[in-house]
């Protein structure tokens, strides 16, 4: 398993080298990754200044993908594990009442960060194996990932302030 970790890290590093202009929304697929690399220098500057809002010149597509539903295992690898950005993974279920309360709050907290963090939504009934793999037992469970590593997690509901502070910690402010 350690070998796999090493391989992935090397791969991630080399990908980072290639991508000179990292997509603000980490979940973009390869195609949008290329389009972002053609962005003017202004993009890079604004990305490095976390407190600023995104420039209007950014493609609309990348802003939409700050929060997305995981489609399958490959999608998860691509958009979460290999994400440039820190990602919050929201494990939820349609039969879970508290999940319906936490979901919108998480979206709000993520949106506040204006593209510095992404949110991946995993329905545990559709992706049971993935949820089990990540040790989810009760829902909602939120796992924070950065560079393919789990850096934090919580189970249950949190209020807006607690979420803001959780998300800020993930970004590293």
């Amino acid at each position: 398993m350690a070998q796999r970790l090493l391989v992935r890290r090397i791969w991630t590093v080399s990908v980072k080298d290639i991508r000179r202009f990292p997509a603000p929304a980490a979940a973009t697929a390869a195609s949008s990754c290329f389009s972002t690399s053609l962005q003017p220098a202004a993009t890079r500057v604004s990305f490095l200044a976390p407190s600023r809002a995104l420039p209007r010149s950014l493609p609309h597509a990348s802003r939409r993908e700050v929060s997305f539903n995981v489609q399958d295992h490959e999608d998860f690898t691509e958009r979460v594990i290999n994400s440039e950005l820190p990602v919050l993974i929201d494990f939820h279920a349609q039969w879970c009442g508290p999940c319906k309360i936490l979901g919108p709050r998480l979206e709000k907290a993520v949106a506040k960060q204006k593209g510095r963090v992404a949110m991946a939504k995993v329905d545990i009934d559709d992706h049971t194996d993935l949820a089990i793999e990540y040790g989810v037992s009760a829902v909602p469970t939120v796992i924070a990932m950065r560079g393919g590593d789990v850096v934090d997690h919580f189970v249950g509901i949190k209020d807006d302030d607690e979420l803001d502070s959780f998300v800020s910690k993930i970004i590293g402010q």
């Binding site: 398993m1 796999r4 970790l5 279920a93 349609q94 039969w95 879970c96 545990i124 009934d125 049971t128 089990i132 793999e133 990540y134 040790g135 989810v136 037992s137 829902v139 796992i143 590593d149 789990v150 850096v151 934090d152 997690h153």
Partner: protein, 512 residues
């Protein structure tokens, strides 16, 4: 915190590869492979894994004829006990709302029921249970495989994915707990194409509408009961008797109550064919066996509840020489759940002669696991099993029916104490309690050991559970009459029962 997750992060071991490599070395992949992830299979596999053995459970749901399928947990969780009881509760609440007015609640206008709301809520709860079981298997370190299992030999189980991909598992011991599925009638034209079964009813997204329930088993009556309770036009078509195997006097009270409650009954009728009309409705043609006349009527849904059968063919048991009962297709099992092939065991609904109940399957599964691990020699006791039929008027019982007791000891060998009572809650609600009844069948003379307890009334399941303990301890009539009742309850009437059938006296309980 990252450390907690690190170990499980990159789990992607190819099970197949491990299996083949181990087979080459001659060792078993698993100490125990359980085929069937229902009430029994899950209990057995979790208990077995506790002591340390490597255990795998295979669960696979072959979609119903109408295409319904569900998750881990078996019949009880997905298409049996759980959704049934929840829908029964929905129906009871409808009656409670009607009673509420008499108790002072100001309810303006008629109260209607929305199937979609109930179905979604019930289905969501079932999904949460599917998940819960999955987590439990993970916690107890049981390997879960969503594969259709069949036996290749007494130590090899083959698992197939939906796409047909094979996985071979070598097991020291194999346990079969695959249960049963509803039967479709074979000689009724249109039955399979147009009818549904209990596998489908709980997963319908739209209301079944006007329904014909064919059968008079507890499945038929419970379904017809809650359908009536939520306001649907429901008919039960019974070929002969209701609740075969249960005390027939009590069965009569159950169906009498249902008729008064609004369920229509077509007694001694047998369906001949089901045709779909251009409107989409189903036209059923049936014969009244009393008159020989043919009748027709249209329904939105036809629900077949004509029995359940095990899926033993697909398991490949005939090739292995596992003895099956020719009539039922169930596996012939010994008192220790063994089959005719050493190290293959079977229990739960699939065992011949076993009660088709979840608690007995769970208990038998746990005891089997302990015996296989060498931790115990205790066998499952299938006697004194209490049960309840969750019809609109519930019926709970433990022990022998009156007719069975009579058969064993003769009419003169038994004494039957009985009483018609009225639940206090029915009084203000002005509800008819004619079928609220209980009887205690005892040995005549000597200690007057209780042979059977029967109770119809609200919360019969809750009432019967407590008395089942006394029954298990060998309670006698004098134990019962020495027990002080809790007042005011319906259950206390059991402790006060003193009129015998033999006396011919009026058994109606009066006042306090």
């Amino acid at each position: 915190m990252a450390a907690l997750f690190g170990g499980r992060r990159r789990w992607r071991s190819s099970q197949c590869f491990h299996v083949w490599s181990r087979q080459l070395t001659g060792k078993y992949d698993y100490d125990l492979v359980v085929v069937g992830g229902g009430s029994g299979g899950l209990a057995c596999s979790k208990e077995a894994a506790q002591a340390g053995p490597r255990v795998a459970v295979l669960d696979y749901v072959e979609p119903s004829v109408q295409g319904t399928k569900w998750g881990l947990g078996g019949t009880c969780v997905n298409v049996g006990c759980i959704p049934k009881k929840l829908m029964h509760q929905a129906a009871l609440l409808g009656t409670a709302v009607k009673d509420a007015k008499k108790y002072g609640w100001q309810i303006s206008g008629p109260v209607c029921h929305d199937w979609a709301t109930m179905a979604e809520a019930v289905q969501n709860h079932v999904r949460s249970l599917n998940w819960g079981h999955r987590v439990q298997l993970q916690d107890k370190k049981v390997k879960y495989l969503n594969l259709k299992g069949s036996l290749m030999d007494e130590h090899t189980v083959k698992g197939l994915t939906k796409a047909g991909k094979e996985t071979i598992l070598a097991a020291k011991n194999i346990v079969i707990a695959t249960g049963g599925r509803p039967k479709y009638p074979t000689n009724i034209q249109g039955a399979i194409e147009h009818g549904i079964t209990s596998d489908d009813i709980f997963w319908l997204k739209k209301s079944p509408g006007k329904t014909l329930v064919v059968g008079a088993s507890y499945v038929a009556l419970e379904c017809a009961g809650f359908l009536t309770g939520i306001g649907l036009d429901t008919t039960v078509m019974a070929r002969s008797i209701a609740l075969r195997g249960f005390d027939q006097q009590m069965a009569g009270l159950v169906t009498d109550y249902m008729e008064e409650y609004g369920t229509k009954f077509a007694w001694k009728c047998v369906p001949k064919r089901v045709d779909k009309l251009s409107s989409g409705a189903l036209q059923v043609t049936w014969t009244d066996t009393r008159t020989g006349n043919e009748h027709k009527d249209t329904y939105d849904t036809v629900l077949w509840a004509v029995g359940r059968a095990p899926e033993t063919k697909a398991l490949g048991l005939d090739r292995l020489g596992v003895q099956l009962n020719k009539e039922t297709g169930k596996i012939v099992v010994g008192t220790d759940e063994s089959t005719s092939v050493p190290n293959i065991y079977a229990f739960g609904d699939i065992g011949e002669g076993r009660p088709e109940l979840t608690p007995t399957a769970i208990k038998a599964g746990k005891l089997l696991a302990r015996r296989l691990a060498g931790h115990s020699t205790e066998l499952m006791n299938y006697d004194n099993v209490p049960t309840t039929v969750f019809t609109p008027l519930e019926y709970g019982c433990v022990g022998l029916s009156e007719e069975e007791a009579e058969k064993r000891l003769g009419k003169d060998g038994i004494e039957v104490y009985h009483a018609f009572y009225k639940p206090l809650e029915f009084t203000v609600a002005e509800r008819d309690a004619s079928q609220c009844y209980l009887k205690v069948v005892c040995e005549r003379g000597g200690d007057m050991k209780i042979l059977g307890l029967h109770f119809t009334g609200p919360n019969a399941g809750e009432v019967t559970q407590g008395f089942a303990l006394g029954f298990q301890c060998g309670a006698t009539y004098s134990h019962l009459s020495q027990t002080v009742g809790i007042h005011p309850t319906s259950a206390e009437e059991m402790t006060k029962v003193n009129i015998t059938k033999r006396s011919g006296l009026d058994a109606t309980v009066t006042g306090c």
